[in-house]
């Protein structure tokens, strides 16, 4: 069976800035992969390359065995058009550090929006799915609230429900708790932990080492655009082989 995500020698340049310098990554189905690393090491860029919010400069990115953003015809590469890329993205959920809920829509409308507009699900069905997803993140009683009327933790849980409503095969999280007050971090991590337990494939960029230790199948340590070390949480966090990894955990633990 193919892996859910496979990055092969991925490079990314922003102009002259070389941000990803040949990243290889394999995430199996149902696996939870936590990416750790210092700020500016390219973690966000890497997961944004997975759902093509950024175009990779070199290498290949496969999701569910499908080449992302490109098509190979007779040895030549062609870029996919907007519609094809949108279709590839629709099966990958993403949760952002700053939630990015749609502020002019209630929680329920936020969750219904993509199924309605992208998958053309009838209103009644979309609403049923949305209410289920809100219940799943424990926010049934907040369905009619606007984002501005929710706490940060509640907003992030709505954002998770919004991504899940598209029935993704893969969920990407970019520092989902970094913008939250400390007492609200737990409720979001709790929802993510339940999601992991339900068998969702997840790639999580976070600074929550405790979460990595408890939930991750694979921990990837990145620094300066390369994967320095990877393995089980026990190996990477508690018995790192590389000096850079040791220095990092000496600071954060």
């Amino acid at each position: 069976m193919t892996a859910m995500v496979q990055a092969k020698g991925v490079h990314k340049f922003f102009g002259d800035l070389h941000v990803l310098k040949g990243v290889d990554l394999t995430v199996g189905r149902g696996e939870v992969c936590v990416i750790l690393g210092p700020s500016g090491s390219g973690k966000s860029t890497l997961i944004r390359c997975i759902n093509e919010l950024e175009q990779i400069s070199a290498g290949r990115m496969f999701v569910d065995g499908e080449l992302m953003g490109l098509r190979e015809v007779g040895g030549r590469l062609h870029r996919l058009n907007d519609q094809e890329i949108a279709r590839q993205r629709a099966k990958i959920g993403m949760v952002f550090q700053r939630f990015n809920l749609f502020p002019h829509m209630t929680a329920l409308e936020n969750v219904m929006e993509a199924p309605r507009q992208v998958r053309r699900v009838p209103r009644a069905d979309a609403e049923r799915v949305a209410r289920d997803q809100l219940a799943r993140v424990g926010l049934s009683d907040r369905a009619d609230h606007y984002p501005a009327q929710l706490s940060g933790g509640q907003q992030q849980r709505v954002a998770i429900a919004r991504a899940l409503a598209m029935e993704p095969e893969l969920m990407l999280f970019d520092e989902p708790t970094s913008a939250l007050d400390p007492e609200l971090v737990g409720e979001v991590l709790g929802v993510m932990q339940e999601l992991a337990a339900s068998g969702m494939t997840m790639i999580v960029v976070t600074h929550e080492v405790g979460f990595a230790r408890e939930v991750a199948d694979q921990v990837v340590f990145m620094d300066d655009g390369v994967v320095v070390e990877r393995g089980t949480p026990g190996k990477v966090i508690d018995a790192p082989q590389q000096q850079r990894t040791r220095d990092f955990f000496a600071k954060v633990l």
Binding site: N51, L53, D82, Q83, A86, R87, R89, A90, K91, I92, G93, M94, F96, Q97, R98, F99, N100, L101, F102, P103, H104, M105, T106, E113, A114, Q117, V118, H145, Y146, P147, A148, Q149, L150, S151, G152, Q155, A159, R162, A163, M166, S178, A179, D181
Partner: protein, 318 residues
């Protein structure tokens, strides 16, 4: 167990005698002004009353409204189109949009109106076809561009150039994260614009556009440059000059402009409320610190604690 109700503070406010003094002075001045307006025989309120329902003037009002609606509809269409063109990646479309704004904002609207009026003289016949190639359709300019059409074209093209900048700043005011979230959900550019970005941009676009609409109501009087002679100002001036009583007829026109402006202001208020939904806890629009309706006690407590930011587009770390 009930907690004992605390004794609420009932204190006298700080006395402010100067407040009452100023209020009194202003009220006296306003009363003098109103008295002067009503009793000065030169205003000829009897003539005003007599012409208020004059069918020629009502028809003039109708034309003024029609010109305003037509010009704003054309202007808004052009503004949204050119604003989106300027945000896109196609350099030719961007250039065309830029040139349009440059030209129509840079020349007087009066000159543009004269030009549209002269179009049938400058180009007696118009045709559709390929430049230097075959022509498919040809017609007389006079038949298509009469004075009314020329007036709407002139006002609308000019207005579109101004509104385009307003629309563009509105679109730019929407957080980049909104585009990313919609894109990540699989929405395409057009859907994202229509469902996510434009509704939020409207919060920024509506107030200045309301202003422009009110301004347009009165700018329509410039269409005498075309020349177009059926709208309110032209009609009232003509009647006033014929009667040798210009002042009361100016007042009649002013009354109608005021009435329509008041109605437009009510409409604008409702539009702003509609597009402000979800933003009503925003400090910049909320005002007064009174929690908005429909907010739970718990949420009020959360916000009052000040540990949560009410702004959903809050910048956190970059």
């Amino acid at each position: 167990m009930r907690q004992p109700t605390p004794e609420l503070i009932r204190a006298r406010p700080v006395p402010r005698p100067s407040l009452w003094l100023w209020a009194g002075i202003v009220l006296v001045l306003v009363a003098m002004l109103v008295h002067g307006l009503l009793t000065n025989p030169n205003y000829r309120w009897d003539v005003v009353a007599q012409h208020l329902l004059d069918p020629r003037i009502i028809s003039g009002l109708g034309w003024t409204l029609l010109l305003t609606v037509g010009a704003m509809a054309l202007g808004i269409t052009l503004a949204v189109t050119t604003a989106i063109m300027r945000m896109g990646t196609n350099p030719i479309l961007r250039g065309v949009a830029w040139a349009y704004i440059w030209f129509f904002r840079g020349t007087p609207v009066y000159t543009q109106l004269v030009f549209w009026g002269l179009l049938p003289v400058l180009y007696p016949r118009l045709s559709l076809g390929i430049p230097f190639g075959p022509e498919w359709l040809e017609f007389s300019t006079q038949d298509v561009i009469n004075a009314g059409v020329a007036a709407v074209l002139g006002l609308g093209l000019n207005e579109g150039a101004y509104l385009s900048e307003i629309v563009r700043s509105g679109l730019n005011s929407v957080d980049k994260g909104q585009w990313e979230a919609a894109t990540a959900l699989g929405m395409r550019r057009g859907t994202t614009l229509r469902r996510i970005v434009i509704p939020q941009a409207m919060r920024v676009i509506v107030p200045p556009t309301g202003n422009e609409t009110i301004s347009m109501l009165k700018t329509t009087s410039l269409v005498l440059a075309v020349p177009f002679s059926l709208e309110l100002t032209f009609v009232t001036n003509a009647i006033g000059n014929k009667n040798f009583l210009p002042v009361p007829l100016l007042i009649v026109a002013a009354i109608y402009y005021l009435v329509v402006t008041s109605i437009l202001m009510v409409g604008q208020h409702h539009l702003e409320a509609y597009y402000g939904r979800g933003f009503d806890t925003d400090q910049t629009t909320g005002g007064g610190g009174r929690p908005p309706k429909g907010m739970s006690k718990r949420q009020q407590a959360i916000l009052a604690a000040g540990t949560v930011h009410a702004d959903p587009n809050l910048e956190v770390t970059p």
